[in-house]
Amino acid sequence: MIDPVTHRPALATGVRLHRDSVRERDVLLFPEGALVLNDTAAAVLALCDGTRTVVDIATELATAYGADDLLDDVVELLEGVAEQGLLEPADG
């Protein structure tokens, strides 16, 4: 479980966002694999730079999209990505 107020998520070492311009989609690239992202997921992960907290990210995106509270969605997405070992560990 991550604490959205204090945790500052970052992509794990060797994981990077990539725009696949041939298939016109965003992907997360990592050793021997690629994860296809929808626009929301790509927008969230683009902000996972280790400086923003989860709350910062949710607020920033909600403002950008004129959306209501996105915190639950962001947490759920990050937990899914973390389960695959693609984010730095929360205690790290």
Binding site: A12, T13, G14, V15, R16, H18, D20, V22, R23, V27, L29, F30, P31, E32, G33, A34, A82, E83, Q84, G85
Partner: protein, 376 residues
């Protein structure tokens, strides 16, 4: 008739930069025809640079820089930088010989994303004995340096009779080194491994015990380390989706520029040769007879054509090279499939080989060392 499915874009480029290797592993997946190949026949930096750009524009995301030993290329830094410029995610697949100490920081700076270091065994002497070279300490140093530089590390070990009982220690070694991934692939008996089958063939009990160790470790390790486990075909009764299908996901380019749908496709007869020196990757991928030969399902024979398990799009008929090696027909169903009329012969041959190799009185044959050097 339905419209034929459009040809998918490739995802993976395997760049075999040089066949020369300081190690002599008896199961090497390079073809045995590498004996006598010359470094002067290797592609130039400009060829690879062009090809990486073409690959990225075709949709390739992942690039494996391999060989032989890719560190023997003096232009490896330039090639990593070309890969990064093209937007490819690059992996160096290395024996860690020669030493990486001086070079890895520059490779990382140039854009290298990930390093795979091979080990042959968790025990230093036995690892060096299997690889036929003093390499273990260099491997340890290289793995430590990869982690120290903040790069993801994969440890890979090809498994066979002489190291399957060591899987627990291999997993412990990978954990200790801080590997994110561990590839444990059983040797497949093509090429050099076929030459060395009498020495390498494990018994079924060894494979089963190792598999249990792997499954337990996976449970314990969770997301902290991925373990890839690949069974040997000889102990399975359904074929693997070799290369994700012929001309479906992957492109192999050998050191001389030949473009192939799989590492051993050059062993198949009557296949037209394609070379990046003469043609664009795009033309070869979409239009060449080579890449279209076993694409889709129209080329399939029985029993694949009317597969009762409906696995045509799951395993793509299995491995073409294995079908040819065991039946003489590259378009036959992979005899690993229990539905193949050749499956019974495969089992008879395997069991005879197992009985011969594991009979108590049988002396262990020496490995035939993988080499590019022609006999004098």
């Amino acid at each position: 008739m339905a419209e034929p499915a459009p040809i998918a874009y490739p995802l993976m480029l395997v760049a075999e930069l040089s066949y020369v290797c300081p190690l002599h592993c008896p199961y090497c997946s390079n073809p045995t025809s590498i004996v006598g190949t010359r470094r002067s026949a290797e592609l130039e930096t400009e060829h690879w640079t062009r090809v990486f750009g073409e690959a990225a524009r075709l949709g390739v995301l992942q690039l494996a820089l391999t060989g032989g030993e890719p560190l023997l290329r003096r232009d490896l830094e330039q090639l990593c930088s070309a890969a990064r410029d093209a937007g490819l995610y690059s992996t160096l697949v290395t024996s860690a010989v020669p030493a990486l100490d001086e070079r890895l920081p520059a490779l990382q700076e140039a854009g290298l994303d990930h390093v795979q270091v091979s080990f042959q065994h968790a025990d230093p002497q036995r690892s060096d004995a299997i690889g036929g070279a003093v390499a273990y300490d260099l491997k340890l140093r290289a793995a430590a340096l990869v982690v120290e530089l903040g790069m993801p590390l994969t440890v890979n070990v090809v498994l066979h009779r002489d190291n399957l009982d060591d899987v627990e220690a291999i997993i412990a070694l990978a954990e200790e080194l801080g590997a994110r991934r561990l590839e444990l692939a059983n040797a497949q008996y093509h090429g050099w491994a076929a030459l060395n089958r009498a020495a390498l063939l494990p018994d079924a009990g060894q494979v089963e015990r190792a598999e249990r160790v792997v499954f337990d470790a996976r449970e314990r390790l969770g997301a902290s380390m991925d373990i890839l486990w690949v069974l040997p075909d000889l102990f399975e009764d359904l074929p693997k989706p070799c290369m994700g299908g012929w001309g479906a996901e992957a492109i192999i380019i050998d050191p001389t520029g030949r473009v192939l749908p799989c590492q051993s496709a050059a062993t198949l007869p009557d296949l037209p040769v394609e070379n990046v020196r003469d043609s664009s990757l795009e033309r070869i991928w979409f239009e060449s007879e080579l890449f279209n030969r076993f694409r889709g399902i129209d080329w399939m024979q029985e029993p694949c054509r009317t597969c009762p398990l409906q696995r045509q799009h799951v395993d793509h008929g299995g491995c073409r090279c294995q079908a040819f090696a065991l039946t003489g027909d590259a378009a036959a169903t992979d005899p690993v499939c229990h539905l193949s009329p050749h499956h019974a012969a495969l089992l008879t041959d395997r069991d005879a080989a197992l009985a011969a190799a594991h009979a108590p009185a049988t002396p262990r044959p020496a490995y035939i060392a993988r080499t590019t050097r022609a006999p004098r």
